[in-house]
Symmetry: C2
Subunit: 614 residues, 2 copies
């Protein structure tokens, strides 16, 4: 151990419950007890026991999430870069608990534990356990620690499944959930990979139907093959290409035999060999089976029903190159939460690391998790508090993706957004607002502060999403050109689209979607009918460059030029009702803009809604 920001030396702890005759009932119908759960804690539980965060581990990990077991330890816990003083899971603020799952082999009861009925290891006599059973046991541990309500539950991969289970089964017991690199249910491909891994273990001649402990051997080859296979699915084509390529191990020519010679082969051999030293083959069978069985949708009669049970703030993180639990599966969770009007933030972190990114993309995660948890602990009051201080950003390659975008096509008046004040005036207090293309959250922050809205943003850029999260603004990463198909009709009071209509691919589609999901839409755009535009086109015969259309033809992000008159006519032919039309002028032509808007306004605000369906 040599890391100054480390939590330091940590102590494995154990909790035993479900002693006879109070065995725990499992999803499979069988009972199990006594149950021991191995766990660790980091930081200090506060007086009112309100600062506990339960961290949930993935398939092959354990309770040792941070710090070192002794001073000679060279490797810290598996999430050490994120757990510690000043880190994403800031142990100066939060009390972190991590427990080994039921069915595991690192301190918790599992198939390698002694079966009290036989006095021998359970082996395959161990009951099939589920993610639900794991969480049930964790709940007992949390109760044992005297915690009435968790500040958060957070985990990646199988840990994310546990977080989902927590927030739906024990909705009253957690204030928030951080759901990372996971899925509401595995697809056929992921099930298939797990099944092949189990076949490899079961085919090993040393497996002895799970009773290998009796012959003092174990199915090392089978487990190693299962691990190698799984390991491929944790990486990505990109990361394997840059890490290994076609390099040969210690030579530059083929050996023309069947030994492992490519670097990727010897790497996998090593990973397999390491794994069999620390993991029990039966635990691997049981835990992969629990992962395969997990189906949040089926167990609640649909994903929306599941999400309707949640009561907490949720943050969902996925990774662009994760093909084991692909981002679209995280988006299913996010969309169901949004449909159920739950408070959800989502970021698809740009990464080449594949599924393993949840262990490696620590810079972006520190910002997102740290910002999210700070706002759960103490919601930011706009205009009252100082803005939350940003945690330190390390200077890695990914830094660019952490900063907000300095310029965007939306800033037209040298950064001053005259339309924002007007939009804030137009929105009713306490209404539910969707801000499409919310940027760094400036408009939503104003609306939260002065109108106490229930607001959510949609935004494309990772840096802007981090800005929103720091302020406690809920934001879902997405591209408006993909539509809002996941949102039900009329589920918002307002949909806002400010200075964005001219850059979207399909304005017709975007406007139709906005009018479908919101009772009122507020749309602002630069007016192509402005007199200076007309004059330049007439006199110079060139594409106009003005203050509100400041780009040259070849570098403009604007795909569409439209005027106030164009928009009016568009609404008329589409049965869209114009409730208000507010011409804006940035150049002291205010009164003329009011009288002749298409000529003297360089920007326009429209409040529109669905016309009468006759």
């Amino acid at each position: 151990m040599n890391d100054e920001s480390s939590i330091g030396i940590v102590e494995p702890q154990f909790f035993t419950f479900a002693n006879s005759p109070d065995e725990m009932e499992l999803d499979c119908g069988r009972k199990l007890g006594p149950i021991t759960i191995g766990y660790e804690t980091y930081g200090t539980l506060n007086q009112d026991k309100s600062n506990a965060v339960l961290v949930l581990h993935a398939l092959s990990m354990d309770a040792h999430a941070a710090g070192f077991h002794d001073i000679d330890d060279r490797k810290p816990g598996w999430w050490d870069e994120l757990i510690g003083p000043g880190k994403g899971f800031d142990t100066d603020e939060h009390f972190i608990i991590c427990s080994n799952v039921l069915g595991g082999c690192q301190g918790s009861t599992g198939p390698s534990s002694i079966n009290p009925e036989t006095g021998k290891q359970f082996g395959l006599q161990f009951p099939i356990i589920t993610i639900g059973d794991m969480v049930r046991a964790q709940r007992r541990l949390v109760e044992h620690l005297g915690i009435k309500k968790l500040r958060s539950v957070a985990g990646g991969s199988m840990g994310g499944m546990q977080a989902l289970e927590w927030m739906t089964r024990y909705a009253d017991l957690t204030e928030s959930a951080i759901v990372i690199a996971t899925t509401p249910r595995l697809g056929a491909q992921a099930i298939a990979f797990d099944a092949v891994g189990r076949h490899a273990i079961q085919a090993d001649q040393e497996f002895h139907n799970g009773d290998y402990h009796e012959v003092e051997k174990h199915p090392a080859q089978g487990l190693s093959i299962a691990r190698m296979l799984a390991h491929i699915t944790y990486l990505s084509d990109e990361s394997m290409r840059s890490k290994f390529g076609r390099a040969l191990r210690e030579t530059d020519h083929y050996s023309y035999d069947f030994g492992s010679e490519f670097s990727v082969e010897t790497y996998l051999d090593y990973q397999g060999a390491q794994f069999v030293n620390r993991f029990d083959a039966n635990s691997y069978l049981y835990i992969t089976k629990a992962i395969n069985y997990f189906d949040l949708a089926a167990s609640h009669g649909g994903l929306d029903n599941a999400m309707a049970r949640t009561k907490c703030k949720v943050m969902v993180l996925s990774y662009s190159s994760d093909w084991l639990y692909p981002p679209y599966q995280s988006q299913e969770i996010v969309h169901a939460l949004t449909r159920q009007k739950r408070d959800v933030t989502y970021c698809n972190i740009k990464s080449d690391y594949g599924h393993d990114a949840f262990l490696l993309e620590v810079d972006a995660m520190r910002e997102l998790i740290g910002g999210f948890l700070r706002n759960v602990a103490e919601p930011y009051h706009f205009g009252v508090d100082d803005p939350p201080s940003a945690p330190p950003i390390s200077h890695h390659d990914s830094e660019a993706a952490l900063a907000p975008e300095p310029t965007s096509p939306r800033s037209i008046y040298e950064g001053v957004r005259v339309d924002y004040d007007m939009i804030v005036k137009l929105v009713e207090s306490g209404s539910r607002v969707l801000d499409i293309g919310c940027g760094t959250g400036e408009l939503l922050a104003q609306l939260l502060e002065s109108k106490q809205v229930d607001g959510v943003g949609i935004e494309l850029r990772q840096g802007n999403i981090i800005s929103c999260v720091r302020q406690g603004i809920s934001v879902v990463q997405g591209d408006i050109d993909d539509g809002l198909g996941y949102l039900p009709d009329q589920s918002f009071d307002y949909a806002l689209l400010s200075m964005t209509l001219q850059v979207v691919k399909k304005p017709e589609y975007v406007l139709a979607e906005m009018i479908r999901v919101a009772r009122r839409c507020i749309v602002t755009f630069p007016n192509f009918g402005y007199w200076k535009v007309r004059a330049k086109v007439l006199m110079q015969g060139r594409a106009p460059i003005t203050r509100s259309l400041p780009y040259a033809w070849f570098n403009s992000p604007n795909r569409h030029v439209l005027s106030i008159k164009d928009f009016r006519q568009y609404c008329a032919t589409r049965n869209i009702q114009i409730e208000r039309e507010i011409p804006l002028s940035s150049r002291g032509e205010g009164s003329r803009a009011a009288t002749w808007p298409n000529l003297f306004a360089d920007e326009a605000i429209f409040v529109i809604s669905a016309g009468n369906r006759t």
Copy 2:
């Protein structure tokens, strides 16, 4: 057998060569002989033996590519949908040969053959073979059949590797190559999957270091696991989702044990069990090793050097959802061929089937392969021949993707392209031309007919690519917004961009790329300075709709509006030389357009080139 378009009953044939002392020398340095090659042929070899097409099979296939072995056969050969009378490989036109690879277990010499030195099966005594060795043996077969030059070599997956080997090693022996769903070299991920599969076979207790034949057993479990794993990589997440999802086999509740219960599990079990009945485990080891060793770049000192050796027309096909040999790997082949000024056509066929698409996307392949081979056999003479008749299109879902796009933003004068005639006049005879956004190949066809250019198109849409292929026009699927980074400086005489500048994302980048790769660029675009445009903007204050700008603001594919004056100024500030500027008028304003182009031309043609580098 019940298919009327089937080739019917076919006969396995055998050819033996490399008898002692003329054993064949292998890449590994060892000698092998005698060698028997199992093969089949379909169709009739013509008088001058010029119509032979060699079809090359993938890892787990064999010489039986089409037809039936007897009338009770229920399953035809593996590419039966593409080989037969009137099919893509039209047996009325071509004589098709397919042979089982060296190292295989379906009629050709492999590890299960008898070692003449021991009188027992080779097992692991069989020498390591390479794709090069397989092709070397095929060459002997082709010579044996009296064929001096093949019309084509064609194969998918490992068959594509053989096609690549043919066209680079035996460049004089084939007129064309069809390279499908393959890669110039496996990446680390694909090598890793193969390595895990081999581990599973070698770990099987019945493997006996490859001498399992002596104990009359075989490593069925290990081979089955290898096959299951490989099978997952042949499908795609999408296809597995739609085929299996999370369906359970014959039940609607979990069994809470370790039996195979998901449909995808029982499917893979079945695939594994079927495979071990027909395939030899040692052959699996040898052939996957040959695949892993294949590296066209390394064996020629770079991919460009390899492609410089080819002399034939090439068609490369990849599949959008293939993640085993992803499309970008096919594109590396295409780009190297283009750099080497070789005649190449490329289509990334849209498919959800994953790698297996090369066996399943038969409609698009029939069009592409059929069109390509017809033009190899008898090049289409523009203006002399009748256009080639299209093969019948079956009415499948994919039909839409087979037809050319009926409208495109390039057709502005109700389909009549007045700029084409002018461009054809401007281009010098026999020059090398790149047509960016070539559509259905109309302009290239004119240029081929009247100027005998060496032309290649770049086009995005699959339907348009099929149109080009039918006419024998070489076309590479690609998006100009991704740039031309793979092309060297000044490698074309002309780059053409007609009525496309206004729809590209980054016109600056596109123009810079064109000027980099071609000595002269011809660019045409609609003129935003046209008087009608100006008048509409002035009088109506609305985005103009005219004949040359026929779209409304909300549905326009045009991202950029520019005028002749804009373009002139752009060239001036970028040190781009305007060699010619030709205003076009479609409305009888020709003379005025010549005098005041920006006012009276509704379209413009510019011939530009790099200015002096001072």
